[in-house]
């Protein structure tokens, strides 16, 4: 099997903080993670978990306290590695006095492209991200969505094998997010490796081959979204309506009401007994469905557990 596109080994980052910078804060601790070639990898975690830190370490914007990483076999120390990597920073801001076309041309000059090649690529990219009509307008007049698209354009301009995106969907409206999602899927179709960080879980579920969940600076789990949360259903949910007001049935107490409809959750083994009860009450059954846990719940559990641990540590005075 080919070596992974991104290999991270024991990567750690400490920040000095506090009075006179004497205390150290660990924002990343012993991260070990691989991203396989050609996969879309989602890096999930709440704010401050270490996602951006990891990405900045990879891009050599900050330096690790310990550990190493390699992208496409080259160490992150090697600047020439950047030829094959595209990067979109978090909440990007570009030179607002330039137009989109000028910005792309500027960045393109750092890759060894001929002038003709450069022009050609800039045109193609602008078209690809839908900024062709706005290409002569200065970036200071761009909306957030447009800036994000410009950012994507500069990230993939040079045909990189690996694309790293830091919170690409943040601050976008649903239309904007859809556009970014589509671009990511297209990148995948082209065989590129994509690593992106997000805290929007539904996006991750939809796009990613694998996800890595990071909370409080450590990796808590890694795998396909489905694997992470377990396929085991947690039970069945029955949706029903009452034939006339005032009908009584024991399940009513456990049900939640939305408008005229009721939902009740029962363990799988009790499904038929519940249905019998409802049948006796002449209730109109609308649907019976399996309850699947979402990534969100898995996530929330992790975060709560982490918070509880942090509180315990605080209380014990360490």
């Amino acid at each position: 099997m080919a070596s992974p596109a991104i290999e991270i080994e024991n990567l750690s980052k400490e920040y000095p903080h506090g009075f006179l910078n004497l205390k150290k804060k660990r924002s990343l601790e012993n991260l070990n993670m691989d991203v396989q070639t050609g996969e879309v990898f989602g890096f999930l975690g709440p704010n401050g978990a270490g996602k951006s830190t990891t990405i900045k370490l990879l891009m050599r914007l900050i330096f690790p306290t310990a550990g190493t990483a390699r992208i496409l076999g080259k160490s992150i120390d090697d600047v020439s590695m950047h030829r094959n990597v595209g990067y979109l920073p978090e909440q990007p801001y570009f030179y607002d006095y330039l137009t989109a076309a000028e910005l792309l041309d500027y960045f393109a000059r750092f890759h060894n492209l001929t002038a003709a090649d450069r022009r050609d690529r800039v045109q193609r990219m602008l078209k690809k991200v839908g900024l062709e009509t706005a290409k002569k307008i200065q970036l200071r007049k761009y909306s957030k969505g447009m800036l994000q698209r410009a950012g994507l354009a500069q990230a993939i301009l040079h045909d990189p094998q690996v694309v790293i995106l830091d919170e690409p969907m943040s601050g976008l409206d649903p239309l904007g997010r859809r556009e970014v999602r589509d671009i990511i899927l297209e990148l995948k179709r082209e065989g590129r490796t994509v690593l992106f960080s997000t805290h929007i879980l539904s996006d991750a579920e939809m796009l990613c081959d694998r996800v890595g969940v990071i909370v409080g600076g450590t990796l808590r789990g890694i795998g396909a979204p489905g694997e992470m949360i377990g396929i085991t259903a947690q039970g069945m949910e029955i949706l029903f309506e009452l034939p006339e007001a005032g009908t009584k049935t024991p399940l009513l107490e456990k049900a939640t009401k939305t408008g005229e409809r009721y939902r009740v959750q029962v363990p799988e083994c009790e499904l038929y007994a519940a249905l019998e009860q409802l049948k006796d009450a002449r209730v109109r059954i609308l649907s019976v469905a399996q309850i699947k846990p979402t990534l969100e719940e898995f996530f929330m559990n992790l975060v709560d557990a982490d918070r509880a641990q942090a509180n315990a540590v605080e209380v014990s005075g360490q």
Binding site: K56, M59, R60, L61, I62, F63, V79, S80, M81, H82, R83, V85, G86, Y87, L88, P89, Q91, P92, Y93, F94, Y95, Y97, L98, Y106, F107, R109, F110, H111, G151, Q154, A155
Partner: protein, 258 residues
């Protein structure tokens, strides 16, 4: 090298679009005013006054640009995070730094040259035709430019490791200290121990001696400046600025961006 040039030309473009060069309008007005004032007072040294005033203005405006924009070269890119996307390209941090430096020096050169033209126009209105000795003013302008190049290097160094506000303070402070460096060497203060005098002398060599570049006195009195001085000043500026930039490059290469 190409990367440095790319960054430099973009920096120049930024300066133009940020309307930095509009200061030239102010300068032109100043020169016009001076020419008119001097024409009315008529004390027999009109050309000397125009040259002095013009060179002073070129120097002061240049210093303001060098300090404020010089500090902003790096700190603005870090604060606004425009730097992040750039450093993800195959470009070294020191190439970025040198490119920024080159761009501002280029801007200053254009700015200063334009002001020199303005000065000559004003000079011509009070005294035409111009004599050979009037061309010595160009030498003074060149030396001022060397001085500015050195200041920009210092501004960049400070902005690489402190906040913009402090960087401006330090650069301005070092400029003032540098102007008096020569005096530090020659002063005879009463009541200081010989060791202290030696220490002060040593410090005076370390400081950037900005008075090296000041030939306003000679030029305003229509005297030339020896070519060897110009050569030596050029070497001095080159050497000192290189040391400063090398330090800045090392500091910046190790800096964790926020």
């Amino acid at each position: 090298m190409r990367n440095i040039w790319t960054v430099a030309t973009n920096t120049f473009r930024e300066a133009v679009r940020d309307r930095v060069l509009y200061n030239l309008v102010f300068f032109a007005l100043l020169m016009m005013g001076a020419a008119i004032l001097v024409g009315q007072v008529s004390i027999g040294i009109e050309d000397s006054v125009i040259v002095s005033l013009g060179l002073t203005a070129i120097s002061v405006i240049g210093i303001f640009i060098a300090v404020f924009i010089g500090v902003g070269l790096v700190s603005k890119e870090i604060d606004k995070r425009t730097l992040y996307a750039l450093l993800a390209k195959p470009v070294q941090r020191w190439e970025f730094l040198l490119g920024k430096y080159g761009g501002l020096v280029l801007t200053l050169t254009v700015n200063t040259a334009a002001m020199a033209v303005g000065l000559y126009v004003a000079l011509w209105t009070v005294k035409h035709p111009l004599e050979r000795s009037d061309w010595y003013v160009l030498v003074a302008v060149y030396l001022i430019l060397l001085k500015l190049a050195l200041i920009v290097a210092l501004a960049m160094l400070f902005s690489c490791f402190t906040t913009p506000f402090l960087a401006i303070l330090f650069t301005a402070g070092l400029y003032v200290a540098g102007v008096f460096a020569e005096d530090l060497r020659t002063m005879q203060a009463v009541g200081l121990a010989p060791e202290t005098m030696k220490l002060l002398r040593g410090i005076s060599y370390l400081l950037p001696n900005f008075e090296n570049f000041n030939v306003m006195g000679a030029v305003a009195h229509s005297r030339g400046v020896p070519a060897s001085l110009v050569w030596q000043d050029t070497w001095y500026a080159l050497l000192y600025a290189s040391l400063v930039l090398a330090t800045a490059a090392v500091v910046f290469s190790r800096r964790n961006l926020k």
